[in-house]
């Protein structure tokens, strides 16, 4: 049976409007609310609860859950489902995300909308399966071979796990690019109060379907429906457009053009520009106390929480500290960071890795202020006291 999104039924299955919920489950809720009708899963700690939640709830809203044979198969099925007309998603953690890298690139190259929830842990390799970390913030940007733009959100609360999963679907549908929810073991396994948004407050974005006359249809070029839009219209399989979709370099018709430099440049420039042209519109940041700050935390995900506490401690002690939280980490809000670097003396970037997002921060700061990496690895979050010490070190 083909899935039809039924907002009333979805809310019936999700239950009460206000709930005390696990972060991983909030991703399930977000997916279902967004109209996800296919989930390809594979068990991995700390992301398994997303698959478990989907296995319980998807059949009840008319969607399909399949536990695939591995993460490569999961993302493959998710991409296939998108071409069959579904909004589709998967969830994984570090090692599974590494396995998905080839097909993640395939989704970029074939302009397939889909969502990956990555409940991050650390590595290299198996690392610490049950503990949180921010190990894949660069992998999501650079992990697959070739040139691409990433769409990556980092929730700091359970509510944001829900909201950002919906947002990830919106971004991926809008840009026809995979979008990732880069949560982590801390937020994924945290329980907090959430509010399920009302239908009227949700602005769901759907891919623009191909509707043009079949003889005039060109599958891999600017939209033939929306003016000056670099995102092509989507020819769902079975709708008669008879589209050939390939991960090879292809021309506008979708035919392989592997030995043609102009075709490759044109294609890859379009699929990156469709996102980076909109980079200014896409900024999703939270600013706290930045107006009169001498020092700023630049932070995202779970680490924003101890950073905020450290900021408050400092404010109480008369140190002028602010905080800039990246909700959408990729595309990186370069201009915002450049502006910030001119207004403060020092930026501190706490991360649960040995320094990943600190690099684009340094790049954007262009030497206008000092940028300090505040790493913590090993599966423990930063303690506010530890971060406070970075402030005193000024």
């Amino acid at each position: 049976m083909k899935y039809i999104r039924d907002p009333k039924r979805i809310r019936e299955v999700l239950g009460k409007k206000v709930q005390f919920l696990l972060g991983d489950m909030a991703c399930v809720y977000g997916g279902l609310l967004a109209g996800c009708s296919f989930f390809g899963g594979y068990p991995i700690t700390p992301a398994s609860e997303v698959a478990e939640g989907m296995a319980r709830m998807l059949p009840r809203v008319g969607g399909t859950y399949i536990q695939m044979e591995d993460e490569i198969g999961s993302i493959a099925a998710v991409i296939g489902a998108a071409w069959g007309g579904s909004k589709s998603m998967t969830a994984t953690s570090g090692p599974g995300f590494s396995l998905m890298m080839e097909n993640y690139g395939y989704a970029v190259m074939t302009e397939t909308p889909c969502v990956i929830v990555n409940v991050q842990r650390t590595g290299p390799s198996t690392g610490q399966p049950t503990l949180g970390a921010q190990g894949d913030m660069m992998q999501v940007r650079w992990g697959t071979h070739g040139d691409l733009e990433a769409l990556a959100l980092a929730p700091s609360t359970v509510q944001e796990c829900l909201d950002f999963t919906i947002e990830a679907f919106n971004l991926s549908e809008k840009y026809r690019n995979p979008a990732c929810v880069m949560t982590d073991g801390e937020i994924g396994h945290l329980r907090e109060r959430i509010i399920i948004p009302d239908e009227k407050d949700m602005n769901l974005i759907e891919r623009v379907p191909a509707t043009i006359d079949k003889n005039k249809y060109i599958p891999f070029t600017n939209s033939q429906t929306i003016k000056d839009c670099k995102v092509p219209d989507f020819p769902t399989f079975g709708t008669g457009y008879r589209t050939y979709v390939t991960g090879l370099t292809h021309n506008e018709k979708g035919f392989p053009a592997t030995d043609k430099q102009p075709d490759h440049e044109k294609l890859v420039k379009r699929i990156t520009e469709k996102i980076c042209d909109d980079a200014d519109k896409l900024v999703m940041i939270e600013k706290l106390n930045l107006d009169n700050a001498d020092i700023a935390f630049v932070t995202y995900g779970a680490t924003a929480r101890p950073a905020e506490s450290a900021m408050e401690m400092a404010r109480n002690n008369g140190i002028k500290v602010g905080l800039l939280r990246l909700k959408l980490v990729w595309p990186f809000p370069e201009k915002e960071l450049a502006k910030l670097a001119k207004n403060v003396d020092k930026i501190i970037v706490p991360e649960m890795n040995l320094g990943q997002i600190v690099h684009p921060v340094i790049e954007a700061a262009k030497g206008n202020c000092e940028v300090v990496c505040a790493p913590k690895i090993g599966g423990e979050m930063h303690n506010p006291d530890e971060l406070y010490k970075y402030l005193e070190g000024k």
Binding site: G40, E69, A76, G80, A81, A82, G84, G238, T239, R242
Partner: protein, 293 residues
Amino acid sequence: MVEIKTAEELNKKFLREGMWPTIFCNGCGHGVVLEYTFWALEEIGWDMDKVVFASGIGCSSRLPGYINADGLHTTHGRAIAFATGIKAADPDLNVIIFTGDGDCAGIGGNHFIHAARRNIDMTVIMINNFIYGMTGGQLAPTAPLGSIATTAPYGNVEHPFDICNLACALGANYVARWTVTHPYQPIKSIKEGLQKKGFSLLEFLAPCPTAYGRRNKLGDIKKHWAWYDNNTILKEDYEKIMKYGTEKEKEQVKDKIPLGVFQDIQKPGFFELYDDLVKRLKEKETKKGESKK
């Protein structure tokens, strides 16, 4: 209902314009499998808007590009997993996978195993030419013992993979093997496989004169094609000889590759069982709702 009479008419109906010439070498068997598939589709009479082809990487995986239908040319070995998603999203679509021995039995083995086990409603057409042709002739998992490849320069010491045997063990609903040198049985088998609910595997032995025949000294194209007649045997004949034949007869056929339909059953497919599950849940909830009232 067959309206088409000639190969030319068939090509006009099924081939995609603008993709020619093909990448295939002289004497290659892939085009023949494509034509057999067209005849089978013509006989079934499906609306080609509702037929989707998926493939991985390799020579055989280029076939969907030449067909005037939706096609998903995916990553190496993963076509079956992609196709699982397509079928889940739209059960009205008929999903056909073109794959090769390296793509399916090598790198994609695990996806093949689990799609067959789940009995996903799809037809996998694996063209087995004993070699990685596109990359220049490296050793394939189906290559006969002793065969020469660029990565087995002194002869293959690995036992070949019998993919039909594996599919039967996994409970696939339809399993058949033919060579490209006989037209009638393959067309009939493809038709049966396509119409079968659940997982179907069709293996085709096909020559690769460039990367396999040349190195293994199978002679010119004509002689290479004859190899397939001389080194295969109908499954029924093979079984009969192995049971009742003389020692000499057994010796003559023991290394030949059996052809035929190996499995033809009606196990319920994944999506049938999943639909039952959805229905069961709905009934349970309706009952619960009524008892509350």
